[in-house]
């Protein structure tokens, strides 16, 4: 590698990403501690979840992240198709959104809520907190897709695109840890 080392996106976004990762890390540790106190409740709670839907949500986030990553590289190099990739990413990520809402509906219908027990407290809080991040990320993708439609210029600024993309990948990264912890090993 001869090209100079370069941090994509804005410094402020990276500080925000580190802060967000710290929030989720603390929540994961809390989850692990609480599970150690009461493994039976956690096993029972996990059995009520829908791993198929969880898996589909995860895959949709991964594919969306892939599309966003290639869109960013293409945008930087002045290729066409950035906006299309971002729209596609948004569309694919809706599978996550709908899947989550469906599962909330199922669980709520079965009588589970934030106050049911410690497992469901963590389940609802962690996933909903993450859900809100995804919704914000979808708004970011929307804004980026609209911005990318504008005609290409030599001196255009890649800062916003990279910053938004990195935020999106952070949301993906968190889910990649969150999904197995909640759905697979709890």
């Amino acid at each position: 590698m001869t090209r100079p080392r370069y941090l994509p996106g804005d410094l402020a976004v990276w500080l925000l990403i580190l802060a967000e990762l710290a929030v989720f890390a603390l929540l994961f540790v809390g989850f692990a501690v609480a599970r150690a106190f009461d493994p039976a409740t956690f096993a029972a709670g996990r059995a009520e979840l829908h791993p198929g839907v969880g898996l589909a949500s995860t895959l949709s986030l991964i594919v969306a992240s892939y599309l966003v990553a290639t869109a960013t590289v293409g945008y930087r190099r002045g290729r066409d198709g950035t906006a299309v990739r971002l729209w596609l990413a948004l569309l694919v990520s809706l599978a996550y959104t709908l899947g989550k809402l469906w599962e909330y509906g199922q669980l709520y219908g079965a009588g589970y809520h934030l106050g049911s027990d410690t497992f469901f407290m963590f389940y609802f809080f962690l996933t909903f907190f993450h859900f809100l991040h995804v919704v914000v990320g979808q708004g970011v993708l929307l804004a980026l897709a609209r911005k990318a439609r504008r005609p290409w210029q030599d001196d255009r600024d890649t800062n916003a695109m990279e910053s938004g993309a990195c935020y999106w990948h952070m949301v993906d990264l968190v889910w990649l840890a969150l999904f197995p912890l909640l759905y697979v090993v709890a």
């Binding site: 402020a12 500080l15 802060a19 929030v23 809390g30």
Partner: protein
């Protein structure tokens, strides 16, 4: 001074400092009453002195925030204040109402004060920090709305800077949250919720926005670093303050009756509350390192750096110390809370107000580059005396708190000391705290004395043009 109307800040700052002195005087009375229980009894019993001490703090900080706002909003917006007259009228309304309230606390007993002010029509009295008679609360709301209108119109008609937007957001939040002070449900748990919506969301929410905005303004002025850089930091800091601070309210819900999940949410999110304060330390020191001018007002720069460090220690570290539910189970309402409260309020809010006063007062007194070297040296003496005294107060109270938890909270039911027996055992810490408090008063006298020294800092030879900017 770029805009004549900025001068309305002056009476606000002066009155704030007068009330500050009153607050410290009552702090000393309280400190003595901790160890000599019947000092000044029955004229000024402990509960009254405590109410005066905390209410004066809140009111003088509000005066300070208002002064800071009247000072920096016109300058940031690059326009004169909408109505200097309204600002002057509201000053007198607020000053008279505040003074009458304090005199009311001191001259009649609390129940009589409640009767005299028709508390029964809309009962809002009797809650810690919100002890003000309902009529005073209404007065505060009216003054706040008038103030918000005045600076809001000013900010809207001029240049919209991030500093102004963040400051106005913070002030708007301050006023809106105040309205919860009028809601007083008879269910004690519900009452506590709404009480915290005022108390917590003020000091761990919107006040942090106000502090961040003032700090950003001062750093722009003193370091000459590009506004864009400073604004970016400000955004990140307030985002973190709100993410951690809002759900962090849960650390007050641990033992008041709500569902168990608050133990987790409160612990996790409030564990992150030190982050925005840590960012402020990085922010302040980074901007000073990258400064493009050496502003002659060294004292103001010291206050700005000092407030970031002390806020991080007092609000961040000392807050984290007892915020996790398993720890708080033992430390709740002990002297550790008092230690945290003292250093957090001093570090975050007292010092940020003194920072803007240190910067703005000399300019309003016709000294555009700051006070004379002698006056600054004296002010810096005041800074160190007050700050180190506050560090000592905090350490002694922490010592008292740890011992209190050890004797009164940790042992099994039959073996734990009673509250009062514990207090006797930790009296030595209280004596040391009282001595530190006396030194704090000394520091305050030195600080106030620095205002009496004449002369001004000379215009910097090489970078006069830059420093004027």
């Amino acid at each position: 001074m770029k805009y004549q109307s900025q001068a309305v800040a002056k009476p606000y700052f002066i009155f704030a400092l007068i009330l500050f002195a009153g607050q410290i005087l009552f702090g000393l009375i309280l400190g003595l009453q901790y160890v000599v229980g019947d000092f000044l009894f029955p004229e000024i019993p402990f509960n009254v002195a405590r109410m005066v001490h905390t209410n004066l703090l809140i009111v003088w900080l509000l005066f300070g925030f208002m002064g800071a706002t009247y000072w920096l909003v016109p300058e940031e917006a690059q326009t004169e204040l909408h109505s200097p007259l309204l600002a002057k009228v509201l000053f007198w309304v607020f000053a008279v109402a505040g003074t009458l309230t304090i005199l009311g606390y001191l001259s009649v007993d609390y129940a009589t004060l409640a009767d005299l002010t028709y508390n029964n029509l809309l009962p809002t009295m009797g809650r810690e920090f919100l002890e003000q008679p309902t009529i005073t609360k209404i007065g505060i709301a009216v003054v706040a709305v008038g103030f918000l209108y005045n600076v809001g119109v000013t900010a809207l008609k001029g240049r919209k800077t991030v500093v102004n937007i963040v400051l106005m957001t913070g002030l708007f939040g301050l006023v809106v949250l105040w309205l919860f002070a009028f809601y007083n449900p008879s269910n004690l748990t519900l009452d506590k919720y709404f009480w915290w919506f005022v108390v917590h969301l003020w000091v761990e929410g919107v006040w942090e926005l106000i502090m961040g905005a003032i700090l950003a303004y001062i750093l722009i002025k003193l370091t000459g670093v590009d506004r864009e850089v400073i604004e970016k930091w400000l955004y990140v800091i307030i985002a973190m303050a709100l993410i951690s601070g809002i759900i962090g309210t849960g650390h007050h819900f641990f033992w008041i009756g709500p569902p168990e999940y608050w133990l987790w949410l409160g612990s996790v999110f409030s564990a992150l509350e030190p982050l925005p304060f840590f960012m402020m330390v990085l922010f302040a020191f980074n901007m000073v390192k990258r400064r493009r001018r050496n502003h002659p007002n060294k004292a103001a720069l010291l206050w700005a750096l000092g407030t970031s460090v002390m806020a991080f220690l007092g609000a961040g570290v000392w807050g984290f110390l007892h915020t996790l539910a398993p720890v708080n189970y033992y430390t709740h309402g002990s002297q550790i809370t008092a230690a945290h409260g003292h250093m957090a309020f001093y570090g975050a809010y007292v010092m940020i107000v003194l920072t803007i006063i240190s910067y703005a007062m000399p300019i309003m007194r016709g000294r555009p580059y700051g006070n004379s070297a002698t006056a600054q040296a004296m002010e810096i003496w005041g800074f160190w005396l007050m700050t180190l005294s506050m560090v000592c107060i905090t350490l002694f109270l922490t010592g008292a708190g740890v011992l209190q938890v050890w004797l009164q909270r940790m042992p099994d039911a039959g073996e734990a000391l009673s509250f009062m027996a514990t207090q006797d055992r930790i009296a030595l810490f209280y004596w040391m705290r009282l001595v530190a408090g006396a030194f704090f008063m000394g520091g305050l006298v030195v600080y106030l004395g620095s205002f009496l020294i004449k002369g001004e800092a000379p215009e910097p030879a090489l970078e006069g043009a830059a420093a004027r900017a």
